[in-house]
């Protein structure tokens, strides 16, 4: 596999890209985006084999695309936490769940909270918090959860952060499972609201059948987020993260407030996780605690790390591979976790820096490898 990657590197795509005229770059980017929007209708033969609905047991292609994009949003958010700031967050599914549950708890007419509000204020049975209001609520809830979790734990050593966040993810799930009066317990909440839109063919614009509309919505959000994340990476905050990741003590000496910027990374990551969860819950129109198991956290982390932490396109590739491959090869559904585990170990041992690491991250790894070799030679 590494030979293939070396061959790809031989093409020096990055170099050519950086030296290409701006017009060409924009044109290529627009083409890629246009192709991404066209994907649900992809039916030209050799390429159509990538569709996931070719066999009878296959899953709906547009829904898979939607899930890929939602997980890409997760990867963009987690890349800020793991890739840029170098913090290992194993409870990311907690934020994802918070986002999904926020929109369900406040926006669904079936949620105990909405029903309590209805009877308390004498509202009609169709009343619920409007979807447009649910979005800021979901984002705010995840953001606040990120800060509450981060404030005590980010002062600790990195390894402890991993275990505390892991616990956090479980706590969120158990809480939603146990609080019957708020999240309807293990049964979950149905009737999660969808974004408003013009009615077509007698159905709401965003419905359970026309999944490609969800995909386009998520894709538009993803493109916006990628743009924002790139700007963030090259901003003052992004440079501070880089300094903290490479050497926190040295960064502190240079006047970079480690805790403050780590908290920023955590909060931004939490927000994006919540946003992704919101999209997921809204598309499913149903949330239940078992959809947010801890394995999902591992999957999220694996996306970022396998793809190449620190590089947004690496994270996107990781999210794509780890979502698309299991769906494409659905016949092997029982073998998926096993294959996932083997792949995780194999990829990390062969390529600790990930499939497409950022150039700076690759150099950091190279340095470390040299140091390890020198240390071995000294002994």
């Amino acid at each position: 596999m590494s030979q293939i990657l070396d061959a790809v590197r031989g093409l020096a795509l990055g170099e050519r890209w950086n030296h290409a005229p701006k017009v060409v770059r924009w044109a290529v980017m627009l083409l890629v985006i246009a192709f991404a929007f066209y994907l649900p209708y992809l039916n030209i033969l050799p390429f159509a084999y990538i569709r996931t609905d070719l066999t009878a047991s296959g899953s709906d292609w547009a829904s898979v695309l939607f899930l890929i994009v939602v997980y890409m949003i997760v990867a963009v958010g987690l890349n800020v936490v793991i890739g840029l700031a170098g913090l290992l967050d194993l409870g990311y599914v907690g934020f994802y769940a918070l986002g999904a549950y926020s929109v369900a708890i406040f926006g669904s007419t079936n949620s105990p909270v909405v029903q309590a509000l209805q009877s308390r204020f004498g509202l009609s049975e169709d009343w619920a918090v409007p979807f447009a209001v649910c979005i800021p609520i979901a984002i705010l809830v995840s953001l606040v959860a990120g800060v509450i979790l981060g404030a005590p734990t980010l002062r600790l050593r990195g390894d402890y952060l991993a275990i505390v966040t892991l616990g956090f993810g479980e706590i969120i799930r158990i809480t939603f499972r146990n609080l019957d009066g708020i999240s309807n317990g293990a049964a979950g909440i149905t009737g999660v609201p969808v974004p408003p839109g013009p009615e077509t063919d007698g159905r709401a614009f965003f419905n359970t059948i026309d999944a490609e509309r969800w995909y386009w919505l998520a894709l538009a959000i993803l493109i916006l987020l990628i743009f924002l994340a790139r700007r963030l990476e090259h901003s003052r905050v992004g440079r501070a993260w880089l300094a903290i990741r490479e050497d926190e003590d040295a960064a502190a000496v240079m006047g970079v407030a480690g805790f403050k910027f780590k908290l920023w990374a955590f909060a931004i990551g939490a927000t994006l996780g919540g946003l992704a969860g919101l999209l997921f819950g809204s598309k499913q129109q149903y949330v239940e605690p078992n959809a947010f198991m801890v394995n999902l956290s591992f999957l999220f982390v694996a996306m970022v790390v396998i793809g190449g932490s620190g590089n947004i396109f690496g994270a996107l590739l990781g999210a794509f591979l780890l979502t698309y491959l299991p769906e494409r090869f659905r016949e092997f559904v029982d073998w998926r976790p096993f294959a996932f585990g083997v792949a995780l170990v194999a990829v990390m041992i062969l390529r600790p820096q990930g499939l497409v690491p950022s150039r700076r991250r690759a150099r950091e790894f190279e340095d470390r490898r040299h140091e390890a070799e020198e240390a071995a030679a000294d002994v």
């Binding site: 793991i82 170098g86 290992l88 005590p152 734990t153 600790l156 050593r157 990195g158 390894d159 402890y160 991993a162 275990i163 505390v164 892991l166 616990g167 956090f168 479980e170 706590i171 158990i174 809480t175 499972r177 146990n178 801890v294 591992f298 982390v301 694996a302 790390v305 932490s309 029982d334 073998w335 976790p337 096993f338 996932f340 585990g341 083997v342 792949a343 995780l344 170990v345 990390m348 041992i349 600790p352 790894f365 470390r368 490898r369 040299h370 140091e371 390890a372 070799e373 240390a375 071995a376 002994v379």
Partner: protein
């Protein structure tokens, strides 16, 4: 809130807590030793425990031990299961080190990558019992809970007068077994030559290797010891609960790691203190509030301890234990 339930059954809850805590403590040893030497959370350690429980089942099945066997059979089967579980768990731990950690150490990869390969190994081991072995051998492997014969039948040995607390033979075995194993390990690390090597590497790996300590061998030793302790824990667990499952390790591993941090990670005696403390807190809290929140209490305790005493109850000191 039901403090009456706690107070009226205080003796029983305490015994429950100590039983549970002893098992946490034994598993915690594996985390704490590996962390002390390598500054690494061995995520696959929970599965090392899981392999131990399956080995116990395998031994019982192989020699045909069931509940109600004669005394000689009970003692023989239990001892054999203990040794087999220790060997299997230690072997698994060693394999994990070989496959997932050693190549990375050679490359000088950052700590994050070790965690990822650890998680990967953990998934592979879980799936070996949940899927791979089921495909080849059928039941009892698979994604279901499996009963293990209660070879050692639970009998009340004596009753503590005054509080009227019945103490069963299984509980005595678990508590005494755990404490004896811990004392043995503590003595080994603090008094033997190999143990001195372990402490030296924990204190300062570079200086230790200058002094002629073989670092690779110490790391292997630590994995073997931690694995063997997880094997003991696996036997004791099956004696108490009579079940196993492919994903049994996850929650126990998480609790054991919490126990290790509580007591002070890297500190052997801390693992005992942390394990017992966590076990008792869990049982008490479940009695006072609701047992469906048990896992939440453990993490709340962890976060509170980390906030006010990040080095744990006894402090972190595998190296500084006794120079």
């Amino acid at each position: 809130m039901d403090f009456d339930a706690l107070i009226s059954g205080l003796d029983r809850h305490t015994l429950d807590g100590i039983t549970r805590g002893s098992i946490y403590a034994l598993v915690a040893l594996g985390y704490t030793m590996v962390y002390g030497v390598m500054k690494l959370i061995n995520f696959a350690h929970s599965e090392v425990f899981m392999v131990g429980t399956w080995t116990v089942l395998g031994v019982y099945t192989a020699i045909g031990a069931t509940s109600g066997s004669g005394l000689a059979m009970v003692i023989g089967a239990t001892l054999l299961a203990l040794i087999a579980a220790m060997l299997a768990s230690a072997g698994t731990a060693l394999a994990v080190e070989r496959i997932a950690y050693r190549p990375l150490r050679k490359k000088g990869a950052p700590a994050l990558i070790f965690l990822i390969t650890g998680i990967g190994c953990s998934m592979v081991l879980v799936e070996v019992f949940g899927q791979v072995l089921r495909v080849f051998f059928g039941r009892p492997f698979g994604r279901v809970t499996v009963n293990i014969p209660a070879v050692l039948e639970t009998k009340t040995v004596f009753t503590i007068p005054g509080v009227d607390l019945a103490v069963s033979n299984t509980r005595i075995l678990i508590i005494v077994g755990a404490i004896v194993m811990m004392l043995a390990l503590d003595a080994f690390v603090n008094r033997s030559r190999l143990g001195r090597g372990v402490r030296a590497v924990a204190q300062d790996p570079d200086t230790a290797s200058l002094m002629g300590v073989n670092q690779e061998r110490v790391i292997m030793l630590v994995f073997v010891l931690g694995g063997a302790m997880a094997g003991v824990a696996a036997l004791l667990y099956t004696v108490q609960y009579d079940i196993t499952k492919f994903d049994i390790g996850f929650i126990i591993g998480l609790k054991a790691f919490t126990a290790a941090v509580l007591g002070g990670i890297g500190n052997l005696r801390g693992a005992l203190v942390g394990g017992l403390f966590l076990g008792i807190v869990e049982v008490y809290a479940s009695a006072v509030w609701d047992s469906s929140w048990t896992n939440v209490y453990a993490f709340v305790v962890l976060v509170v301890v980390l906030m006010f005493r990040p080095t744990g109850i006894l402090g972190e000191s595998l190296g500084k234990a006794r120079a």
